[in-house]
């Protein structure tokens, strides 16, 4: 895979410089290292695909994912493990056990948080609520207002995780449910505007809570042909203070994470790892604790 290097400039200095093929890091001595691991749209794929699968032969499997995650944690214990939704639906494991095994395994793999995808409503709000006791991780969603539903109090609009003294703020965005999910399943869940919600969440996480890293766990979808339809790509350009958007929903297999410009002209990384647990996303943040925040760039290697 080709590696590209981007130097992120501050808004004042204008355009970024892309150095194709080169690999320049501005850090001499990175003092902190945070690893973000992520999945999306696993869709109840517990076992690996069989050898005869036409598209994904011998790929995936939760047990293999567990091994890989443990290897990475051994290498860097300051790791966060996240899922961008659509945990449910896609194999008979869901139809038989209602998502119990999915949540139990994610807990065994020590997931920190997940956001809620449209298919996570497939057994209704009550079906999701019934499985939540099996989940030893947080459900983060900022733009689904569950206040008139039985899920009230079972999800958080954002969470802050501290790893090696680094404050990592995570918020979640879900896709519009109307026309996608039967109303009977999501009932009185209110869908709030993703850009407005993200603006509010980043204000809280960056300005108020002074998070060092802000991550959006999104189930909006990577990109749409229909103009103006909200997606991760649109969200990245219409917001600021998000460092990383971890996406889902469109089952997009990117060759490498995308880099986009936000409202302030700063770089935002957007990643999505396809579906069915075929890939694991890994984003490494190297942080320094001196004060030369302004004027210096962030080098992004993908």
């Amino acid at each position: 895979m080709k590696r590209r290097n981007f130097i992120q400039q501050t808004a004042a200095t204008g355009a970024f410089i892309g150095l194709g093929g080169l690999n320049i890091s501005l850090t001499e001595n990175p003092k902190k290292h945070i690893t973000i691991l992520h999945t999306n749209d696993v869709h109840s794929h517990i076992e690996p695909f069989g050898p005869n699968d036409p598209r994904n032969a011998n790929m995936g499997g939760v047990a293999r994912r567990a091994t890989l995650i443990q290897q990475i944690r051994n290498e860097n214990p300051n790791t966060l493990l996240l899922d961008a939704g659509d945990i449910f639906q896609g194999t008979p494991y869901f139809n038989f056990y209602g998502g119990e095994l999915e949540f139990k395994l994610m807990s065994k793999l020590k997931y920190d948080a997940a956001t809620i995808g449209n298919h996570d409503f497939d057994n209704g709000l009550s079906g999701l609520l019934a499985q939540m006791p099996h989940a030893e991780f947080d459900f983060i969603t900022s733009n689904y207002d569950f206040s008139n539903t039985i899920l009230e109090g079972h999800t958080s609009p954002y969470k802050i995780y501290i790893r090696d003294g680094v404050k990592i703020g995570v918020f979640g965005l879900g896709v519009e449910l109307e026309g996608l999910v039967t109303k009977k399943l999501y009932k009185e869940t209110q869908y709030l505007d993703p850009v407005e919600t993200a603006t509010e969440m980043t204000r809280i996480l960056k300005q108020e809570q002074k998070c060092d890293i802000v991550i959006c766990l999104s189930h909006l979808g990577y990109e749409y042909k229909t103009e103006n339809k909200i997606s991760d790509v649109v969200l990245a350009t219409k917001t600021k203070d998000i460092d990383l958007i971890i996406g889902g929903h469109t089952h997009t297999f990117l060759d490498k994470p995308s880099i986009l410009n936000n409202l302030d002209g700063k770089k935002v990384m957007v990643n999505q790892v396809g579906c069915y647990g075929i890939n694991l996303g890994r984003i490494d943040f190297f942080l320094d604790s001196d004060k030369k925040l302004n004027g210096s760039g962030v080098s992004i290697n993908v």
């Binding site: 501005l26 499997g61 567990a66 490498k256 490494d284 925040l293």
Partner: protein, 251 residues
């Protein structure tokens, strides 16, 4: 006690001291394939095993026999597989609908995209039902005006796709323009209403079937499409279906 307090305090102050001074200097992004070079964690494999065992025993019991390979692609405007699906919905759902409302289903309309796999020649198991219909969609019946049925026909004319239908016969010309449509053997009567069985997904505008959106009535059957498929396979012993003249193009 005091040590712990001191430690917490240290943690807090060190965090405070770091505020506004920690910053990202570089970010590296990767996508790692999970393939067979990675050995599965034995503890996780053992944990999954009893769930897998129970599931496979249930799924792999043979419930019917299929004499021919069936694919949703093997026909132009109607296919053997699509006809099987639409007909089985009619057969399975109509008695429930009739017992609840006293009325009969006139038409079944599903979508071709909703058939998620083919059925191979040979033994048919419950797993086949899950493969055909992995989602939780339910069968619902809507009462549509004759005008909405006309919109449905226009939709089918434009789609030129073998969307599964039952109870209806449609003829289009070489330009896919509607020549005539028969419902229950009679010409469409614009002044009456019809009972159409479909999935909740399509009723809510899935596949742009907007004519379903504001029906005169909606009747929920609390019957999953997949359960109807499996129930039907259990009943029939051998699958019998073929392409026919329910939706055809004639010059």
């Amino acid at each position: 006690m005091s040590y712990r307090f001191l430690y917490v305090l240290f943690l807090l102050t060190s965090l405070w001291a770091c505020k506004n001074s920690i910053h990202t200097t570089s970010i590296k992004g990767d996508i790692i394939p999970i393939d067979k070079t990675i050995n599965g964690d034995p503890e996780i494999i053992a944990y999954i095993q009893p769930y897998a065992l129970h599931l496979n025993q249930t799924l792999d019991s043979v419930i019917a026999y299929n004499p021919n390979n069936l694919s949703k692609k093997d026909g132009k405007l109607n296919t053997a597989l699509g006809n099987l699906m639409a007909d089985l919905v009619m057969v399975q759902a109509n008695p429930i609908f009739k017992s609840r409302t006293g009325n009969s289903i006139d038409i079944v309309l599903l979508n071709q995209g909703g058939i998620r796999s083919g059925i191979g020649k040979g033994p048919v198991t419950s797993r086949t039902g899950f493969e055909l219909m992995p989602f939780e969609n339910e069968i619902i019946v809507v009462e549509l005006s004759g005008k909405k049925i006309q919109e449905m026909l226009t939709y089918l004319e434009v789609a030129k796709t073998a969307h599964p239908i039952s109870g209806m016969q449609i003829r289009v010309d070489s330009n896919f323009k509607l020549k005539n449509a028969m419902i229950g053997g009679k010409i469409l009567d614009i002044n009456r209403s019809y009972f159409v069985a479909t999935s909740d997904y399509l009723q809510q505008g899935g596949d742009n079937m907007n004519f379903f959106k504001e029906p005169l009535h909606i009747y929920e059957l609390d019957y999953k499409l997949r359960n109807a498929i499996i129930d039907h396979f259990m009943k029939v012993d051998t699958l019998k279906t073929s392409t026919d003249n329910r939706f055809i193009q004639i010059p």
